[in-house]
């Protein structure tokens, strides 16, 4: 069927257009009881979705982006009226199309994923049958074939344990897993166009990044065109080839992603770009840390009976970190990552070379949440220690500590608890709070989430990101896990045997690693999933 269509579709333009919206105007009644007093929701909207491209639609809420997607899907409310214009989908006029033909298109050629998977998945139906249902409605495959295809679809969206998931209900899955199931369901019929309406908005940053990567991967593999709707410029920048900016039901500007977002022409786009929280470029050019030709040694200390030995751990390291940056340091164990942390925090003084800090020395969050809080004291006492340098009354200190507990997502009652009564994630929150109480804006996280399970891990990363955004926290993030670093850091430095292999922006490093070692590391981390 698709072969058939691609031969019949003749485009006058050089570009192969899959969907073309021209002059689309849609109105709604302001109040339901007076159908003739109407408001224009979409105002002469025109844009194209080229075959095999990802088009992002960006705008504030109420800008008409979702309305556009509903118009394409033929899912506008009954009271809505398409006043003018046309939607041409691969030679088929969608405006005024009869419901029966539409139903044939939906879920087959056109498919859609939504913001909250929980509302679009059937809560009383197991995942397997739910995905199969789409196939049963639109194809005439045998049951065995349907079963096979559904499985494949679920495997293609990167779900592990597909056998188990097939027999589970939506509420048994995590948010990320549900979103993957929904993508599998949307992709199972190999549609021409996939509409994703704020599909990653409800997810936390890390899962969001993974889902975006997945969509990009599916897009590249299957060649499906994607209409990606989001209010988040960073998300759009990450996934879209072309961008349509909408405001008050009108298209403000459209073009390729770099054209529109890097060199916006319209005033509205400019403000939109300016106000977007910028994660990809550095907020400031001020270095917070400079290391120049630093050599670090391990000193085994004085002994009467043994020659004092110095072992070189880090060799000739030159690295600059900027204020407000999240810098990842990656390497296998023994590569010298933690040694660097020790030198920066002042725990190890056995180094030569130049290390300059713009502000105070960094504070540090340790790997093992069990060991980093004093087991003999209450949380309140432990946290108050961080305020020792400050001249505050006892009551003021307590107030500050409790405010910090809230800031790291814990309740006041934690003040009187002992560390052993806390979970790993809670302890890590305390550690982070402890560092921030000192008023320090520079944090070293040494494998700070490695000991935690995956859900808690992403919660802690969320907290760090949140604090980074709110307070401009600079974070040196040490990890062996490339997947974590990729979605979390602006730049990544790769270490091998104490030497800096390369340092580049996270995107660049993953897209185009310069050294063989980085390539090998990447390959290994991809294999792990």
């Amino acid at each position: 069927m698709s072969e058939n269509r691609s031969t019949t579709t003749v485009n006058q333009e050089a570009r192969d257009i899959l969907l073309s919206i021209r002059d689309l105007t849609v109105s709604f009644p302001i109040r339901d009881d007076e159908p003739e007093i109407r408001e224009t929701i979409l105002d002469h909207v025109s844009f194209d979705i080229p075959r095999g491209k990802v088009v992002g639609v960006v705008g504030e809420s109420g800008s008409g982006k979702s309305m556009t997607s509903l118009a394409i899907m033929g899912l506008l409310r009954e009271t809505a009226r398409i006043e003018t214009g046309s939607i041409d989908f691969d030679g088929i006029e969608l405006v005024g199309l009869d419901e029966k033909t539409y139903r044939g298109l939906r879920g087959d050629e056109l498919s859609m994923i939504f913001q909250e998977p929980m509302t679009s998945l059937n809560p009383v139906m197991k995942i397997g049958p739910q995905v199969e249902e789409t196939l049963q409605l639109h194809t005439k495959f045998s049951d065995a074939e349907i079963h096979k295809r559904a499985r494949e679809a679920l495997e293609n969206v990167g779900l592990e344990d597909v056998d188990e998931i097939i027999n589970q209900y939506p509420h048994q899955l995590s948010g990320g897993q549900r979103q993957r199931v929904m993508i599998a369901q949307a992709m199972v019929n190999r549609p021409q166009l996939l509409i994703a309406d704020e599909a990653t908005t409800a997810l936390d940053t890390i899962v969001q990044a993974r889902i975006l990567d997945l969509l990009r991967e599916i897009h590249e593999k299957s060649g499906v065109s994607i209409l990606f709707i989001s209010h988040d410029l960073n998300v759009i920048r990450r996934i879209a080839d072309e961008v349509v900016v909408m405001y008050h039901g009108q298209v403000v500007e459209s073009g390729t992603t770099s054209e529109v977002l890097d060199h916006p022409k319209e005033a509205y786009t400019k403000t939109l770009v300016q106000h977007a929280p910028d994660v990809d470029t550095l907020a400031s050019g001020h270095p917070i840390l400079r290391m120049e030709h630093v050599n670090i040694f391990y000193d085994d200390g004085f002994s009467l009976f043994k020659k004092r030995e110095k072992e070189q751990i880090v060799k000739d390291l030159t690295l600059t970190m900027y204020k407000g940056e999240i810098l990842g340091v990656v390497g296998e164990s023994g590569s010298g990552k933690s040694t660097i942390a020790k030198v920066l925090t002042g725990l190890n003084t056995c180094y030569d070379g130049l290390i300059t800090f713009a502000e105070d020395r960094p504070q540090m969050v340790f790997q093992d949440p069990m060991g980093s809080l004093n087991p003999a004291h209450k949380i309140g006492w432990i946290m108050t220690e961080a305020l020792r340098g400050q001249k505050l009354s006892r009551a003021e200190k307590k107030e500050k500590v409790i405010a910090m507990l809230h800031a790291v997502g814990l309740e006041e009652s934690f003040y009187d608890r002992m560390p052993r009564q806390l979970s790993g994630g809670q302890r890590q929150r305390i550690s982070i709070g402890l560092c921030l109480l000192t008023g320090c804006g520079f944090l070293i996280a040494d494998e700070a989430v490695s000991a935690l399970d995956v859900t808690v891990q992403s919660q802690i990363l969320e907290l760090l990101l949140d604090l980074h955004k709110k307070h401009g926290l600079s974070i040196l993030f040490i990890s062996h896990d490339l997947n974590l670093v990729r979605h979390f850091c602006h730049r990544v430095a790769v270490l091998k045997d104490g030497e800096l292999v390369e340092c580049a922006s996270a995107e660049e490093l993953y897209r185009d690693p310069k050294s063989d070692y980085t390539k090998a590391l990447l390959a290994a981390s991809v294999a792990k999933g």
Binding site: F302, L304, M364, G371
Partner: protein, 279 residues
């Protein structure tokens, strides 16, 4: 600690049996020792030739000795001296041991090496022999015994505290405190020592036992508490000659020493078990 006593009934119930028995035994023994300092059934020093070496009976629960003195009165009063000497000895050993052990353990370096080698030298001599050497310099007497024994107890305490320091100083919570720029002294006293409290208390209890025995042996050798002040060790040594005629003289003292030591041993073992739960 204050909170612990506010909830005394509840908390006491959760302690292990060894600790409970040990504490009760020691408290009773201490009370008896304390009361006997002010009141004993008979005078501890007055001799009575009409009652020489009476066997235990209703009037004299532990019998009388070769001068007709009541053994019970002398044993209980003597145990007071034993507690005092042992307590002071442990106190000296504890205080100096904690200071030396903390500093050497936490800071390390050449001073640590030197002090610990000296420590090893002291530990390699039998303690009674060393105490004899000290006494020969200092002269006899209760105070001197305390000083000599206290000095001898320093190395073993220092060693334990040092090993606790080394155990904890590379732990992340101590590193975290160092990064917070908390002074080394405060780290030692407030961050590390509270964690080492169980092993400190256990060591103190064992040390107390050793001190009781050491005091007894020094007095037995005639170097400690001087007559006629009653002392368990001296009484034991005096009873030796009458072991066949009046065994109750030796038995009374011996049982008392055993009870004192049993109390502390049980406390020490019990503390170890309590600490085990915590970590």
């Amino acid at each position: 600690m204050k909170k612990w006593f506010e909830n005394f009934h509840e908390n006491w119930r959760h302690l292990n049996r060894k600790l409970k028995i040990g504490v009760v035994l020691t408290v009773v023994m201490l009370l008896i020792a304390l009361i006997s300092q002010f009141w004993t059934p008979y005078s501890t020093t007055a001799m009575d030739s009409s009652r020489v070496m009476h066997s235990p009976g209703l009037l004299h629960w532990m019998g009388t000795d070769n001068f007709g003195r009541d053994v019970w009165s002398r044993v209980t009063a003597g145990s007071g001296m034993t507690y005092l000497v042992a307590g002071l000895t442990v106190l000296i050993g504890f205080v100096f041991g904690v200071v030396i052990g903390s500093l050497t353990g936490y800071f390390g370096g050449w001073l640590d090496e030197v002090i610990m080698r000296l420590n090893d030298m002291l530990l390699s001599f039998p303690s009674v022999l060393l105490a004899l050497i000290f006494i020969s310099f200092l002269g006899k007497g209760t105070l001197n015994i305390v000083l000599a024994l206290g000095l001898l107890f320093i190395p073993s305490f220092a060693r334990i505290v040092r090993s606790e320091m080394i155990r904890y100083k590379e732990r992340d919570f101590v590193r975290s405190a160092r990064i917070l720029k908390i002074s080394p002294l405060r780290i030692i006293v407030f961050h590390i020592l509270p964690n080492a409290r169980v092993s400190l208390l256990t060591t103190a209890a064992i040390g107390f036992n050793n001190a009781v025995l050491a005091e007894a042996s020094m007095s037995y050798l005639g170097l400690g508490v001087q007559p006629p002040t009653p002392s368990l060790g001296r009484m034991l040594s005096e009873s030796q000659s009458y072991l066949f005629n009046a065994p109750w003289m030796a038995i009374g003292c011996g049982v008392w020493i055993i009870l004192i030591i049993l109390g502390f041993s049980l406390i020490s073992d019990g503390l170890k078990e309590e600490g085990g739960d915590e970590q």
